[in-house]
């Protein structure tokens, strides 16, 4: 009898299998258009949305079977009045099903960002196959040109943008990895501002043909990182210049590396701090809010163009100079952002959630977050001086012109 029962079970499963062989969610790999980079724009006057998809051409990117250079990606452009219409229009254009799980990066235009990305982000978060951990870029170049250029070396533009972030965060400290869509989404309901990377197209013209892979000149028509876009909630409200980005990230405590170029004895000395430790605390000092930031770094000398020998005193000087310079520039940056009323570090929220009588007093007195003072203290010591101790002294006095 036991066997009989088992038999029935197997039969039932079999029947069920036969009844339901539709396999609704099944997609063969060669029925998919693998989306790689997506660019969005919206005309402020007409409200028309334009979306560019870069679709991978797998045969050109996969392990080569020879046969010359082919286009690694194809760019499709769709224009529509609403987000949902975009979907139907995409279906009109694409011969394969759009596979959006593997988007590497997303680009929006500056004008779109300034109108607010609300609808885009909401639509994005609702999709089951979205990944909110992809990087969001804002571009100030025309989107069509950005999307219609082939990039050398890392031939998939989406991945190339992604590696810009990885490299910047690892080598220069001008970006951190937390510039993903989800970081923007998280701040959509708070007063804290978000900074997203900006890119622009270098050179005069894009390179929309594979001819470019045969030219040695790589700069022309390449995407470069050009600064930061400051978002309040979902709307872009301003730009951060490239040279302030590293101060922003170090004050935010997200830098993986921090580089500073110092001038000592009229000569350049470059130092770099790997993983600076940053401690931040909000305090109330004599009724005024003070934001205390302690930075402690271990420096390594990357470049030393000084003529004199490297002595302990000299090192002390470098450390001292580093402190001064960082203090000055970071404070400058902070003041500037306060004066623009940019709450880059979420101070407003911090103050709002402080408990205690003194804080309540302070709030009653109507002292707003933008009265917060920055109290920066920097500790640094040079631990790594590089392969050489003393620099080679050449003939000239450092001015290469003669």
């Amino acid at each position: 009898m036991k066997e009989l029962k088992k038999g029935i079970m197997i039969m039932m499963t079999g029947i069920l299998l036969c009844c339901t062989t539709g396999c609704w969610d099944k997609n063969e790999l060669n029925e998919l258009a693998i989306g790689e980079l997506v660019g969005a724009d919206r005309d402020p006057d007409t409200g028309k949305q334009t979306v560019y998809y870069q679709i991978v051409n797998p045969e050109a990117v996969a392990a080569q079977k020879g046969g010359g250079i082919k286009a690694p990606v194809y760019t499709y452009c769709v224009q529509a009045d609403s987000t949902s219409e975009l979907g139907t229009k995409t279906a009109n254009l694409l011969p394969r099903k759009l596979f959006s799980d593997h988007y590497q990066s997303e680009i929006v235009t500056e004008r779109y960002a300034k109108q607010g990305l609300n609808s885009l982000l909401n639509f994005f978060e609702k999709q089951h196959n979205r990944r909110s951990n992809l990087y969001l870029f804002v571009t100030d170049s025309p989107l069509s040109e950005v999307m219609m250029t082939y990039l050398p070396l890392e031939r998939l533009p989406g991945r190339s943008l992604r590696s810009i972030i990885e490299i910047q965060s690892k080598l220069t400290g001008r970006l951190s990895r937390r510039v993903r869509i989800k970081d923007l989404v998280e701040n959509m309901e708070s007063s804290r501002l978000t900074v997203m990377p900006m890119i622009s197209l270098s050179g005069s013209s894009p390179s929309p043909t594979t001819d470019r892979y045969e030219k040695i000149e790589a700069n022309q028509g390449n995407l470069i990182f050009s600064g930061g876009a400051v978002f309040k909630n979902d709307r872009m409200i301003g730009k951060l210049p490239l040279n302030q980005m590293n101060y922003y990230f170090i004050l935010k405590g997200e830098s993986e590396v921090f580089m500073e170029s110092l001038t000592i004895n009229n000569r350049t000395v470059d130092v770099q701090a790997i993983k600076p430790k940053v401690r931040r605390r909000l305090d109330l000092i004599s009724g005024e809010p003070v934001w205390k930031v302690d930075i402690s770094t271990k420096l390594s000398l990357v470049n030393n163009e000084q003529k004199n020998e490297l002595t302990l005193e000299n090192l002390k000087m470098i450390e001292e100079k580093f402190k001064q310079q960082v203090f000055q520039k970071a404070t400058e940056f902070y003041q500037e952002s306060i004066s623009k009323e940019w709450d880059l570090f979420g101070l407003e929220e911090k103050i709002k959630y402080q408990n205690g009588k003194e804080w309540d007093d302070m709030k009653k007195r109507g002292i707003a977050w933008d009265k917060t003072k920055l109290q920066l203290s920097i500790k640094s010591e040079i631990t790594d001086i590089g392969q050489t101790i003393n620099p080679y002294v050449g003939d000239n006095d450092g001015n290469s012109s003669n």
Binding site: M9, S132, N133, E189, Y353
Partner: protein, 370 residues
């Protein structure tokens, strides 16, 4: 009644899997959206309530050793009224099975396979469950014991990988809630999972050492409360309050966005599988209770035919719910009151009746002696 025996450890794992399994997936987001940064405290007090409830159930069960809740119904309240209450209980088990099945279907449909008709998930899964239930409680507990380490290890893995997203700033604004309104809003957490655990009273007679049920059951409750709290804490730290309260499945989103290097990135299907395993544990228990409750009420010896026939009913009922929002609302607004009937009112009624009977007997004894 089958002559199965399960060890205390197995009972503990069953209880833990039953209590923690699905609530870990479905509860966290809702709690955070209500209590914001303080959500991690809610499981703690709910856990205390859970422990108190366990004490009531154990007290009741101790009066009737070797009997399940269905049998207690009949013994206490007689064939007519008791049978009716037992039928209500069985109805609840079926309803619960349908709810859990629907949870699974919704999850799969929303996150992984949006085109597949939801009923396919239900029926396929119910077939597996039906097989497990036919094989009996020993098989269920052994499978649970086998699968449990797998689930634990995966959770730990997720936990450690996702910690790279941790940010203490997300806890800003802790201790700002209004305790009473929050308690009222989150009372459903006591309903699911803690009150639901009375279902395990159906398994009491099979546990080998009777006097250790209490300890392991309470321990399971405590561990559930702690881990739920930890889960909420973790979700806040990793995902943030804003996003956690907007997402339907916050744990799923965490896994969706975690990555190991740039190579392994989109691992959400794996977490879905873990969810399937915990749903398996929970559903097999509730389904088993429905089937064996029917068997006990109508004194049928063999579970297999009944469990096959219930597939149709449960899959039909689970299709009856409109969408996940409706379930969430039902859960938030009504579930606590609904569960109150089965988990508190009936057991207390039984306890009361038992005391009455005992008193009467005592008086009789005293009277006859006098």
């Amino acid at each position: 009644m089958e002559t199965a025996r399960i060890s205390t450890w197995q009972f503990f794992i069953l209880a833990l899997g039953y209590l923690l399994g699905t609530s870990f997936f479905f509860r966290i987001g809702g709690l955070i959206s209500i209590a914001k940064q303080d959500a991690w405290m809610i499981p703690l007090w709910s856990g205390i309530a859970g422990v108190l409830l366990v004490l009531i159930w154990i007290k009741l069960a101790n009066y009737y050793p070797g009997n399940t809740i269905i049998q207690i119904c009949i013994q206490v309240a007689g064939k007519g009224f008791g049978g009716f209450i037992a039928l209500l209980y069985i109805g609840y088990f079926v309803h619960l099975s349908a709810l859990i099945t629907r949870n699974l279907g919704d999850f799969m449909k929303i996150n992984l396979m949006p085109r597949t008709p939801i009923v396919v998930f239900h029926v396929m899964f119910l077939l597996v469950i039906c097989y497990a239930v036919t094989k009996g409680v020993e098989t269920i507990s052994r499978s649970t014991e086998f699968l449990f380490p797998l689930v634990t290890v995966t959770f730990l893995l997720i936990f450690f990988i996702a910690l790279s997203e941790w940010n203490w700033d997300r806890f800003q604004g802790m201790f700002h809630m209004n305790i009473w309104t929050t308690m009222k809003e989150t009372r459903s957490l006591i309903g699911f999972p803690f009150m639901e655990a009375f279902v395990l009273m159906m398994l009491f007679p099979y546990v080998k050492s009777k006097n250790r049920i209490k300890v392991s059951f309470i321990l399971a409750n405590v561990v559930t409360a702690l881990l739920l709290s930890l889960g909420v804490f973790f979700t806040i730290g990793v995902l943030g309050v804003t996003r956690a309260s907007h997402e339907t499945y916050s744990l799923f989103v965490i896994v969706q966005e975690m990555h190991i290097g740039t190579f392994f990135e989109h691992l959400e299907s794996t977490i879905a599988l873990i969810l399937l395993i915990v749903i398996f544990i929970k559903l097999s228990i509730s389904y088993y209770c429905a089937v064996s409750g029917l068997c006990q009420l109508f004194q049928v010896n063999n579970r297999s035919w009944l469990s096959i026939s219930l597939i149709l009913l449960v899959s039909g009922l689970s299709l009856g719910f409109d969408n996940i929002l409706e379930n969430i609302v039902f859960n938030r607004e009504y579930y606590f009151e609904y569960m109150l009937l089965f988990a508190v009112i009936f057991p207390l009624l039984f306890l009361f009746l038992t005391w009455m009977k005992k008193g009467k007997e005592k008086r009789k004894v005293v009277g006859s002696q006098a």
